[in-house]
């Protein structure tokens, strides 16, 4: 029993947690920014998938995974522009528009696979991936336990940590952050100050496109070496839950993504250790149940931005 526990609770568990939570962290920060400006975003799954595809496509075509990352970001942002136009300019219900985006993404990626490569399933493999650019931060990388997990990692993992810290600082200390918060809480007041709610909402959506594009790129060109259809497999929706559980705050998003990743990594290791001989379905459900319990128990004070999901139109004026 003790031997099994020693086999499960290792520094590798923390490394696995970081790997599993990185795309979710990035997407949930994206969701946070978007929703803080007042646009409900359930399209993260679709935007991530597009980002994953374009990262792999550009990375394969150019031979450089860094250009692939730019491709993933561009793909994510371009796709999210469609969502911004639908939700902000056309005033389509945000949830409806988001759901359509998810369906579109599956269709587009499958279609592009056929058009670019005449095959389906998995795209051609990149010879060099971002995994080859693993970097150990001097000194910090050698710390026991947290060293390898946080400071000897691949590029996008570092980007996710930077994104959390950056957005925590932006929201707390900058005018941009204040604008983002204000537009989501009281858009009318924001407009009466002479600012533009649609413009900040476009920014919010595009920022979520950027971050989800990076999240998708992690899946296809850092964690793997090509794009596989449907490879996001529900992570966008986990990110949505992580944002809500995190109280629409950067640190909260990080902690809830981290928690979910941790429980998922744990469940895999408990399964293979043979410690608990219970039906595998219980293991598979465990991360989701744990997240619900955590949200119900710990996050009672979670409050969304006051105007999230509400369309903003000025009376008597076109937008």
């Amino acid at each position: 029993m003790m031997q099994a526990l020693a086999m499960i609770f290792t520094p590798q568990l923390l490394e696995a947690t970081i790997r599993l939570s990185t795309p979710v962290t990035l997407a949930s920060i994206g969701a946070m920014v978007c929703e803080r400006t007042g646009v409900t975003n359930i399209a993260m799954e679709g935007i991530m998938l597009m980002g994953a595809f374009f990262a792999a496509a550009v990375g394969y075509a150019t031979g450089s995974p860094w250009l692939g990352l730019l491709g993933g970001i561009a793909g994510g942002m371009a796709f999210s522009l469609l969502f911004a136009w639908a939700a902000v300019t056309l005033h389509i219900n945000h949830v409806v528009a988001g759901a359509i985006m998810n369906i579109l993404a599956f269709g587009f990626t499958r279609y592009f696979m056929n058009v670019f490569y005449h095959i389906q399933g998995t795209s051609p493999a990149l010879p060099v991936t971002l995994h080859n650019y693993k970097y150990a931060v001097p000194l910090l990388g050698s710390l026991p336990v947290i060293g390898p997990a946080f400071f000897n990692q691949t590029p996008i993992v570092y980007m996710s940590l930077v994104a959390v810290i950056a957005w925590a600082w932006i929201l707390a200390r900058t005018r941009l952050g204040l604008s983002v918060l204000a537009a989501g809480e009281h858009p009318m007041a924001y407009e009466t100050l002479g600012r533009s709610v649609p413009r900040i909402r476009y920014f919010g959506v595009l920022m979520s496109g950027l971050l989800c594009g990076i999240a998708g790129s992690f899946l296809s060109i850092e964690n793997s070496n090509s794009f596989t259809e449907g490879m996001t497999d529900g992570r966008g929706f986990i990110a949505l839950a992580a944002n809500i559980a995190g109280g629409w705050r950067p640190l909260g998003c990080f902690l809830s993504s981290f928690f979910f990743g941790f429980v998922d990594a744990l469940q895999l290791r408990v399964q293979s250790s043979g410690l608990l001989r219970i039906p595998s379905e219980i293991f598979l459900v465990f991360p989701y149940v744990a997240t619900i319990a955590a949200v119900a128990g710990l996050v009672r004070g979670s409050r969304p931005p006051a105007a999230v999901g509400k369309d903003f139109t000025i009376e008597g004026e076109g937008d």
Partner: protein
């Protein structure tokens, strides 16, 4: 004038339709499961069987992809209504749906891939299943020898005597592969530690990679994937952590040539082709389950490719002997973990 034009068009349409109906070649159709074409394993395998039959002039072919489980019944029924004489439903997850479609369309043959029906089988329904446990057994023999006795033959092996398997979902074909794998490994290496993880999905590559890394962290140096597209992640982990992977369903060596030792092969193509051939010969019999295995030349393990030199003659001989013994009935390969005494 207008009425004459409409009448002319109507006659033309009716004539075209009747010409189609008189076409000599039967329409054979298939619906994929939610993974769709390009899964690199059985959707593609069955489709290859249809294409082969089409190339030989036995039939015309139509394929429809499913995106959600709710598509299965509409796809199957729709294809029957389109005039298909034989409709393939691919994947164990549509076992209920195909029975429903078969009852609703008694004049069309339905063939379920990876299906084994209990009870009264409708006369137009055929279950096609495979003895995956035989392929798993052969792969297990290779893994059992290489991880221990011959671990010096490759730097990818660590001599810790642990092997692993990553499963998609816990469904009968997957369990058969695993039961065979464990039995085969233990038959040549009784002390080997076989660990496995169920990921719960056939479409999550990153999860497959994490599951493999969990197994590798716990000492495994050969990991078999029984997980469809999730299994691509097993190959990713093998590539990153420098261990061996074993593929499933088709020869997956091309996806990671320096790390895929062999693959467990399942004859989806040959079984689909044989069913279509029987349809065109008029010998297709419904209301039964057909099971394909080593004896029908539908099960095997893939060649070792660049590892042919490091896999010694003893292992290759053991595999050949096991094939003979399985076909003759001397070895009975278990089909479930319960048979092996493993509680789930």
């Amino acid at each position: 004038m207008k009425r004459a034009l409409v009448l002319a068009i109507a006659i033309a349409v009716v004539l075209t339709m009747s010409v189609e109906a008189q076409s000599a070649k039967p329409l054979v159709a298939m619906t994929t499961d939610t993974n769709g074409l390009g899964d690199g394993s059985f959707n593609d395998g069955v489709y290859a069987g249809l294409k082969r039959a089409e190339a030989e002039g036995l039939c015309t072919v139509k394929v429809v992809e499913a995106h959600a489980m709710t598509d299965y019944v509409p796809n199957l029924s729709g294809l029957a209504e389109d005039g298909a004489k034989l409709v393939f439903g691919v994947g164990a997850l549509m076992i209920e749906q195909i029975q429903e479609a078969a009852k609703g369309h008694p004049n069309t043959y339905f063939a379920g891939i990876d299906h084994y029906y209990g009870g009264e089988i409708p006369p137009n329904l055929i279950g096609i299943s495979y003895r995956e446990q035989e392929a798993g057994y052969l792969a297990g023999i290779v893994a059992g020898y290489m991880t221990s006795k011959y671990s010096k033959n490759s730097p990818l092996l660590n001599g810790k005597n642990v092997i692993g398997a990553v499963l998609g979902m816990d469904i009968p074909p997957v369990e058969r592969y695993l039961a065979g794998y464990i039995a085969g490994a233990k038959s040549v290496n009784p002390t080997v530690d076989v660990r496995y993880i169920v990921t719960g999905t056939f479409a999550d590559r990153a999860k497959g990679k994490e599951a493999s890394i969990a197994l590798i962290d716990q000492g495994a140096d050969i990991v078999m994937q029984i997980a469809g597209l999730t299994g691509m992640g097993v190959l990713d982990a093998a590539r990153e952590r420098h261990v061996f992977a074993i593929g499933a369903d088709v020869d997956q060596n091309a996806a990671a040539p320096e790390y895929v030792l062999t693959s467990a092969l399942k004859g989806t193509t040959i079984s689909a082709y044989k069913a279509i051939k029987a349809l065109s010969d008029g010998t297709l019999k419904g209301g039964q389950n057909i099971v394909y295995g080593l004896a029908e030349d539908a099960i095997d393990i893939a060649p070792f490719h660049q590892f042919d030199k490091i896999v010694p003659a003893e292992v290759k001989d053991a595999v050949a002997k096991a094939k003979r013994d399985i076909i003759s009935g001397k070895i009975k390969v278990p089909v479930s973990l319960a048979e092996l005494g493993i509680k789930k």
